[in-house]
Symmetry: C2
Subunit: 130 residues, 2 copies
């Protein structure tokens, strides 16, 4: 039997659908970026370098290019091999705007759930009054 509690210990399993993609669109909104470099910037969105999956990042960027949200080209680096640098497209910017709306809905759904949880748990546990 697997340890059920264990899944709450590693933060990796607590992803939100496409959240990484939205963060990348926002990072690329006003400046270009490449895979490895974006990893460091993602810290500002709650991703820790350990739990951030390099494979997932690269795969996501390629997928976004396939969808026309970003374009890419190879650029020389002053240290190390060439980098595939991504630039956001107009479609990518529009896509980001849509995602922000979705995230606002998600947020309000979560807020509503938490309110209902607090209400119910208080009602249940305040039998202290006995």
């Amino acid at each position: 039997m697997k340890d059920k509690q264990a899944i709450f210990c590693n933060d990796k399993s607590h992803h939100m659908e496409r959240f990484l993609e939205v963060c990348l669109l926002l990072l690329l909104y006003d400046e270009i970026g490449y895979g490895y470099g974006l990893i460091e910037q993602l810290v500002n969105f709650g991703f820790s370098p350990e739990d951030l999956n390099v494979s997932t990042l690269y795969r996501t960027l390629r997928k976004m290019e396939g969808e026309g949200l970003v374009t890419s080209l190879w650029e020389e680096s002053d240290q190390g091999p060439k980098r595939r640098v991504y630039e956001i497209t107009l479609e990518g910017k529009e896509n980001l705007d849509q995602w922000i709306k979705i995230l606002k809905m998600r947020k309000s759904k979560i807020e509503n759930l938490i309110v209902q949880y607090d209400k119910k748990i208080v009602d249940t546990t305040s039998d202290l009054s006995d």
Copy 2:
């Protein structure tokens, strides 16, 4: 070429990992419930009866039973066939508490992203000042 905007029109594709499961745990927290009946109650969590997937609901309940979060038994109905009625377990309640913490983290990550989006978009679009 598929219409990229289309995915934003149908609300079905905007799920949040395991959100349904958490809602079910909360609904079952203080009273038992069965599949069909729970569907109506889920409206309070932002699920519309149309976009709520009956298969997903039943499958989720069975999975939760397999994980020991709920138990079930068959109960007679005053109208229609028997119902499989679910009851939350202690483990299920503990699990819910953990999920609430995760949802609070999700919420703050989303809030942070929205703040950064607003900041960046204002900076970009306020070139009106020219």
